[in-house]
């Protein structure tokens, strides 16, 4: 499960007020290199909840990867930024697309309901009494 997927998931369990963002508890994760595509990141960024993404990077032991506040677009997409090691766009790309959570759980912030992540697949099925 990429952190991008975590960013789009919410808990819909009965009793949840917003159910978002889910607290990520990662017990096993890895990184897989993906070629950076600036246009793709540009199109994706407006859909990302930044605070949820930062919290997720901390959950996988990368507390320094992203700043608390989203950097300005001029900085992220500056000319040549994609080729600079450690640039904002490289960090964002790494966080969203290269980190994979293999085992762990997603916890509803309102009800503490745990959704298990097994072999990279979060199971968001609710029990009958939770719908």
């Amino acid at each position: 499960m990429r952190l991008l997927t975590h960013n789009m998931l919410a808990s819909n369990v009965r009793g949840a007020t917003t159910g978002y963002p889910l607290t990520l508890e990662a017990t096993n994760w890895c990184t897989k290199e993906v070629e950076l595509n600036s246009d793709f990141i540009r199109g994706l960024l407006p859909k990302i909840d930044w605070r949820a993404l930062v919290a997720a990077t901390r959950a996988v032991g990368l507390p320094e990867l992203l700043p608390e506040e989203q950097p300005p677009e001029e900085e992220i997409f500056a000319d040549g930024a994609a080729d600079v090691e450690g640039s904002a766009i490289r960090r964002i790309h790494h966080a969203l697309l290269e980190v994979h959570v293999q085992e762990g759980s997603l916890v509803c912030p309102d009800t503490s309901r745990c959704f298990p992540i097994n072999k990279g697949i979060p199971n968001m099925m609710l029990h009958e009494d939770e719908v």
């Binding site: 789009m8 998931l9 819909n12 199109g43 968001m124």
Partner: protein, 371 residues
């Protein structure tokens, strides 16, 4: 020497027969999985027979009891069981898109399927930068076609964890891995997505599994952004269906039983249910009507292919390559094909009643006022 020659001859003839059986006779149908890879989804081998018996006994009940509260609550579990049992056989016979499409003159089933899927993207006005929701995505055939055709990203939800794995594997092979195509294991009656998070949504012959269509439409409405569109291909009975005709009832009940449906909706109910959920109905059309060619022709390849597949499955079971119960599942699917074909020929049933719905743009201000 004589004995050895005979043994070798028998082996070669046997291999030739198997080759002819599977690859020549089955060339048109063998897509996706190979016959020897039948694993019956995530159910362990020894449980296939039990799961099949349990499934069948549930759906053998009269329709009236199937819709009571207690039975309706079991539907998600049985839909999950159903797709565990049939996913591998479906892929073997259908490819990766578990749905019908109008036949097109001079075009293959594969092409017709693709056109049917791409129509969804066109109706939604999908384009790069959009994130679409696939409600009940199966192993993701439509998702990949729509993502490739429109440039949109697609997030699919399926109740079956085995299908999530299959879908993701196919996505990787197609070069459409997350985030182009992502699959989530969940129930479309209670989706794990925030409000107003999708630019469009579609379902292809999936909402028929919902005990109450209102519930799935309500969920799609919630997760759709204001002003955005939802397309659904629905399984419904048409006005030609008469509940007092025993032949019609048997046919429809056979479809429900064979496809894990809690009950087929009537065509004229769909728009009312959508409006109840808050949608505007922009378009309604039975895509099965002429000039479309019959959607059920692909089921009629039938008897020889069934006999061939049946023998392959039974031999594989005998050799313990395929677990017990696969033959029964295969036979059930064949019976269901007969009911579907009859439903199509008589015109009492269609799997492609298309509705194009829109969440009103004003929904945003309503929500803001509520907060």
């Amino acid at each position: 020497m004589e004995a050895a020659t005979m043994a070798w001859t028998a082996a070669v003839v046997g291999a030739g027969l198997v080759y002819w059986f599977v690859w020549v006779m089955g060339a048109a149908e063998v897509k996706g999985k190979r016959a020897v890879d039948l694993k019956m989804g995530s159910i362990t081998r020894d449980k296939v027979q039990d799961k099949y018996t349990q499934y069948w006994s549930f759906f053998r009940r009269p329709k009236e009891t199937a819709t009571t509260a207690a039975s309706a609550e079991k539907v998600p579990a049985f839909v999950d069981t159903f797709y565990n049992l049939v996913t591998d056989i479906y892929e073997w016979g259908w490819g990766q898109s578990f749905h019908f499409s109008p036949s097109l003159p001079g075009r293959s089933h594969r092409d017709a399927t693709r056109v049917h899927e791409e129509r969804v993207a066109d109706l939604l006005g999908a384009r790069p930068g959009h994130r679409l929701l696939d409600v009940g995505c199966g192993v993701g055939g439509p998702m990949r076609a729509i993502a490739a055709h429109s440039g949109s990203d697609v997030v699919g939800i399926t109740i079956n964890e085995y299908q999530v794995k299959r879908a993701r594997a196919h996505n990787r092979k197609a070069g459409l891995d997350s985030p182009r195509c992502e699959v989530v294991c969940g129930n479309f009656l209670s989706m794990p997505f925030p409000d107003a998070s999708f630019d469009g949504a579609y379902s292809i012959e999936a909402t028929c599994h919902a005990p109450r269509l209102q519930d799935v439409y309500g969920e799609v409405y919630r997760v759709l952004k204001p002003g955005r569109l939802y397309v659904s291909y629905e399984w419904v009975t048409t006005p030609l269906y008469h509940a007092e005709d025993p032949g019609h009832v048997e046919c429809v009940h056979g479809i429900e039983r064979g496809d894990a449906l809690p009950g087929l909706r009537r065509q004229d109910e769909i728009a009312a249910i959508a409006k109840e959920a808050g949608f505007e109905v922009l378009k309604e059309q039975d895509l099965a009507l002429p000039p479309a060619l019959p959607w059920w022709t692909r089921l009629k390849m039938g008897r020889i292919a069934y006999w061939r597949n049946s023998i392959v499955v039974r031999v594989l079971t005998l050799l313990r390559i395929a677990p017990k119960g696969v033959s029964e599942v295969h036979e059930m699917l064949y019976e269901t094909a007969q009911h579907l074909t009859r439903g199509g020929e008589t015109g009492i049933f269609t799997p492609m009643h298309m509705v194009l719905l829109r969440k009103p743009p004003a929904a945003a201000s309503t929500e803001e006022e509520a907060k």
